[in-house]
């Protein structure tokens, strides 16, 4: 016997919500197409296809003259140098700041006695500084430094130094806090000075993670150095930008290929280093 549950016409209860959501998305996306000047019609215009074809053709064949390859090689070395020098400066910034910021070295947190507020007062601005360094994108720092110290690799080194200093500082302090803190606390309670505590209690425990993260960040720095070149901070990126401005597509594709190889190489070196120092 069919039970009558009072519904004669059955409707999908999820339909109104789905419809509303779809309409909302369309309403939000439609002006987006106008704002971004994206005209799908352009893709289907036969005249544009010819232009696009010709444009793509300018990327081939790759520029392989000896002079140019030498220039590319030098730019690549410059990029690697920017990344390495930048990371060095980043560590110089990060290490002291991370030591100040890390709560594991705070004597006031362990036991009774004064200094809780003083500790916080010292740590807070350091934390803020690190956050400021990190939050501004590295390319913006690069742009600023190019204006301040001129075109060339110095701007890139400083930009990487500051941005990555902020990142390393934060992560170092977290590594210090997350490791086994018992040796550290034991030493601090026994009255050891903070620097000595760090050297004997915290550093050996944290070293593998520190190295691993630093090497990983170096790999990112290599990529970032190339990118910063586009705003004038030296290296492979700056060369690519020059070639683009001169509308030389084949030079651009050579450098793109070199860039992809460089990224793979950096990935390999980083993996090797992490294995050796593990």
């Amino acid at each position: 016997m069919e039970r009558n549950d009072g519904i004669t016409l059955r409707r999908d209860p999820a339909a109104p919500a789905r419809l509303a959501l779809t309409l909302l998305i369309v309403v939000l996306v439609w002006p987006g197409f106008r704002l971004t000047e994206f005209d799908p019609g352009v893709l289907f215009d036969p005249r544009n296809r010819e232009t696009m074809g010709k444009f793509l053709a300018t990327f081939f064949p790759l520029a392989l003259s000896a002079d140019f390859l030498r220039l590319v090689f030098q730019s690549t070395l410059e990029t690697l140098a920017i990344a390495t020098a930048g990371m060095t400066i980043a560590m110089v910034i990060a290490i002291p700041l991370s030591l100040i910021v890390t709560r594991s070295l705070s004597v006031s947190r362990i036991g009774p006695g004064p200094g809780k507020w003083r500790g916080r007062l010292v740590r807070f601005p350091a934390r803020l500084l690190l956050m400021l360094y990190r939050s501004i994108p590295e390319i913006v720092w690069a742009l600023l430094f190019v204006r301040a110290v001129g075109l060339g690799p110095s701007a890139g080194v400083l930009a990487i130094g500051i941005t990555y200093g902020g990142m390393l500082g934060k992560v170092y302090s977290e590594i210090f806090e997350s490791g086994d803190t018992r040796p550290t606390y034991a030493l601090l309670e026994a009255g050891s000075g903070r620097l000595a505590t760090f050297a004997y209690g915290m550093f050996p425990v944290a070293l593998p993670e520190l190295v691993s993260y630093t090497v990983y960040r170096w790999e990112c720095a290599v990529r970032a150095s190339v990118i910063m070149g586009f705003v004038g901070a030296g290296g492979l990126g700056m060369q690519m930008e020059l070639s683009m401005r001169m509308l030389n597509g084949s030079e651009v594709s050579t450098m793109l290929a070199v860039f992809l190889s460089l990224v793979m190489l950096a990935d390999g070196v980083s993996a090797l280093l992490r294995r050796v120092t593990a």
Partner: protein, 269 residues
């Protein structure tokens, strides 16, 4: 002839003989139950009847055609006339029940209708009707991951009922369903087969269900047919022999476990 297997064998890649030289003929409109211990080959047999797996040797004829000689379009049409209820319903759990049930007719609907149904279910009333027959019509718009195992199994049966195939195959369709509802489900399947004059082949674990509802019972053991008889001609000894390797008694709905080692009370005839 609705379905026939002629000297069919199925050997798995690891050498295991799931089915050995089986001969079965099933006429249109027949209702057949397949029983046997675990690993006897019931599922393999049904999968071959459903064209899910090709026999290693032998011939399969389904609804008058050899499925493995057909072209792609013809095979698709043949499969739309065969419905298989899996033991574990192959339904994506995030899908709603209504869409899962309507999926049964994907082989019969035109492309635009199948696509449209994704946006708004094309036949809510039809889905509701089959779910009502399975006593879960209130779950119509629920998501499948909110159903119990037994409810999900009944959704699987509902999907095949919605498909309205000419050959209904069910692989242990009530293994997770409680006894009272199991009776209802088998009775619905039987009613469907009888009212439309279509063939029903069901593999069952509970022997009493098979003997009660089906006029023809095939006993399968180690990939071979032990007997192929109407229920009144099947003796208790034959049943005990069939399940001999597993336990001292024969699995029923009340005592489904067939792997107990302790001696249970014997089955009353």
């Amino acid at each position: 002839m609705s379905a026939s297997l002629c000297r069919v064998s199925l050997v798995h890649a690891n050498g295991f003989r799931a089915v050995s030289c089986v001969d079965v003929s099933i006429a249109a409109g027949e209702r057949v139950a397949v029983i046997g211990p675990s690993g006897a080959g019931k599922t393999s047999l049904l999968r071959m009847l459903a064209t899910a797996v090709r026999p290693t040797s032998g011939d399969v004829q389904l609804l008058g055609a050899d499925p493995w000689r057909l072209g792609r379009a013809d095979l698709r049409r043949l499969r739309a006339r065969i419905g298989l209820v899996h033991q574990v319903p192959p339904i994506p759990l995030r899908q709603r029940v209504v869409t899962a049930v309507l999926g049964g007719r994907l082989g019969q609907w035109p492309l635009w209708k199948s696509l449209g149904s994704l946006l708004y279910p094309a036949d809510i009333d039809g889905a509701h009707e089959v779910l009502a027959r399975m006593e879960i019509k209130e779950k119509l718009f629920d998501r499948c991951d909110r159903l119990s195992g037994g409810q999900l199994q009944r959704v699987g049966v509902a999907r095949v009922l919605y498909q309205r195939p000419d050959l209904i195959l069910t692989d242990e369709p009530v293994s997770a369903v409680d006894p009272a509802l199991s009776d209802r489900v088998i009775s619905e399947l039987t009613r469907e087969a009888q009212s439309r004059g279509v063939t029903l082949v069901a593999s069952l674990h509970a022997v009493d269900l098979a003997l009660h509802w089906f006029p023809r019972v095939i006993g399968l053991r180690a990939g071979e047919i032990a007997f192929d008889l109407p229920p009144d001609k099947i003796s208790d000894d034959m049943l005990r022999d069939l399940y001999a390797s597993e336990t001292a008694t024969v699995p029923t709905q009340a005592e489904p476990s067939a792997v107990a080692v302790i001696r249970r009370r014997p089955l009353c005839s």
